[in-house]
């Protein structure tokens, strides 16, 4: 019962955050001088297309551009909730259809990256804590420092170069050009798998580095505690001992780290995708911002934030299940 109450509380909270984010996204549309429609008209005129004055006035009215900010925001939000995110001038398509096209790749990459981060950082963190100051621990720390210091785009460039030089994998994207329009097949799947490692490494490196450090630090704290000595004294097998008690206690900060890991993940994903040319939402946002396609930009920020918030909710709920102090506190 308490758990359900907690979940409902978090859901309400998530909705509130979403409102705030939507306000921020809308602010981004509004910030450039002049409204987006006048820049659209200017672009149309530049390309030599006739601008129908009447339809522009109609458009202006339907988007509420002749009304105060807060009304415009209300209209935009109302449309958004109903799944109408406006029109992308760059793609001359509805924003939602442009985004939906790229959603699967975004989700796939993010989810795989999250999995990789946990699968790598937990065992390495345990190893580092158990063999403190060993060669392996040193290497892990080194990797951690490098992961924090190398900018994502640089790593992407370097790995792309290595992949191209060393393994002859075509540069960028998630599949080779010859498979673009083909139906799913074994060859296509293998080709896809070959393209996956470079983006995954770029996205995960910073998060993995941070999580290894967290895992190592918390586990080291736990290992010094008396219950560990007690367990050893009563002759428990070392591996059972480690995995049954201290590791479990050290897991909670790892689960709650999902909170900051997800925004970080989408950040990394954005950079990697822009440099590597992946079909995800990040480059879409980039192109929208460069081309002042503001509805598309706002839509992208909203979607990325919604994904983050959903992820946060999940990590909160998982934490509430594993750690009774949170759902009862």
């Amino acid at each position: 019962m308490k758990l359900i109450k907690y979940i409902i509380k978090r859901l309400l909270w998530g909705t509130l955050v979403l409102l705030f984010v939507s306000f921020f996204s809308f602010l981004v549309i509004q910030l450039p001088p002049g409204d987006f429609l006048s820049s659209y008209i200017a672009r149309l005129e530049k390309s030599g297309m006739a601008v129908d004055n009447q339809s522009m006035v109609a458009l202006r009215h339907s988007y509420g551009l002749d009304q105060p900010f807060i009304v415009q925001y209300g209209k935009w939000f109302y449309r958004f909730v109903r799944g109408d995110m406006g029109v992308s001038f760059l793609y001359t398509k509805k924003v939602e259809s442009v985004i939906v096209e790229r959603l699967p790749a975004t989700l796939l990459l993010s989810f795989t990256s999250l999995l990789v981060i946990y699968l790598v950082s937990i065992p390495v963190g345990i190893y580092s804590a158990r063999r403190q100051y060993s060669v392996g621990d040193f290497l892990a720390s080194l990797l951690g420092f490098m992961g924090m210091a190398i900018p994502g785009f640089l790593l992407a460039l370097i790995l792309m170069w290595i992949a191209y030089q060393g393994f002859g994998i075509s540069i960028g994207g998630l599949q080779s050009p010859q498979f673009m329009d083909q139906p799913m097949s074994m060859a296509k799947a293998i080709d896809f798998m070959k393209h996956l490692p470079v983006p995954i490494i770029v996205i995960t490196v910073a998060g993995t580095a941070a999580l290894i450090r967290t895992m190592r630090a918390t586990l080291l704290d736990e290992l010094g505690k008396q219950y560990v000595t007690t367990a050893r004294a009563k002759g428990l097998k070392e591996s059972t001992l480690i995995h049954k008690y201290p590791v479990r206690a050290a897991m909670n900060p790892i689960i709650s780290s999902g909170g900051w890991l997800l925004p970080e993940l989408f950040s990394g994903e954005t950079i990697a995708a822009i440099v590597l040319g992946l079909p995800t939402i990040g480059p879409l946002l980039y192109r929208a911002l460069l081309g002042e396609d503001m509805y598309l930009a706002a839509g992208c920020i909203m979607i990325l934030s919604i994904l983050t918030i959903i992820g946060l909710l999940i990590s909160d709920i998982v934490l509430a299940i594993t750690d009774p102090r949170i759902r009862l506190g």
């Binding site: 910030l31 210091a149 640089l154 460039l157 989408f266 911002l289 460069l290």
Partner: protein, 379 residues
Amino acid sequence: MKTPTFFRGFRKPKNSEPNKFNALHSASQWALIWAKFKDHKLAIVGLYILVIFYACILFSPIITPYDAWEDSKYIYAPPSKIRIFHQGKLSRPFVYKQDIILNTETFERTFKPDKSKPYPVRFFVKGAEYRWLGLVKGNIHLFGVDPQTSINLMGTDVLGRDCFSRNISGLQISLTVGLLGVFIAFILGSVIGGIAGYYGGIIDNIVQRLVEFISCIPTIPMWMALSAVIPQDWGNLKVYFAITVILALRSWTGLSRQVRSKLLQLREEEYIVAAKVCGTSGWKIITTHLLPGFMSYLIVSLTLEIPKMILGETTLSFLGLGLRAPTVSLGVLLQDAQNLAAISAYPWLLISALLVVIAVLAFNFVGDGIRDAADPYKN
């Protein structure tokens, strides 16, 4: 070098235990922090690197042999080789003149050293005019060669501009963005976090929610969105400040969180209660009694925040959303290295990236060192 007075008594008596004991007990907090910081080898290395970098920034027009915006005929010249053997004989360091050979079919430029005449590297030579710190006029450069040839320690770029000069100038922008940004974040974070932590209750709740809101938006997309709306017609200086403010808008949240939790903890201490009983004003309690109590923690998070900002600026500029040419920052320089063709043909363009990595590592090491030293009473 003379030992600063404040820990002179602390270092000297190494062999006599009782004295050391006394010195340890009478040493000030900062002396203890410094002593512990010095044990952290990597932090000391980091500190040296940063001192060198910032010295380069301070004296950049003197250290650099050329103007960072000056074109030359040496387009995409590889880094100059400094030689010491001319025709088998040892001589002072010199460079050979580079002959440019243009392949008329591929239009590829290759450089061939003309080994007949050495051009010695001279020190304190006259060169391009500059204004040091915008005030002192000068034309003396630390090193250079005769104007018939050129010395490019890090090669040249697409317009034949000297990459060494450009990188040093780039450091100037890239490393100060972090400092200025952290300064803004520090003020925002400590004021807002301080108010939240000191007053607690509803104010605290509102601030906490605001911080959570902001942390829910992925950093890079948020930075990208904000910097994309910087008007195109803004001058270099304005864009520079706008970027630092944008970077700071994200960083203050973490800082305010730390200030708040530390304040909540300190608030319950008896000396604060005593001050309250004496009728000291809230502002005065925060600034004179509470802030010094966790200054070291603030400094730790500040040092660890600087490298994030440096990376942020570099990334934004690399993507063309941050600083723009003619401003030279390391990120702007890396725009030239955006594709694989450029990187494999002109690998020296990546030296800018190397500088970023070194600076960020140095800041992280120093931050780590300060973190370990921040609480000298722990052990």
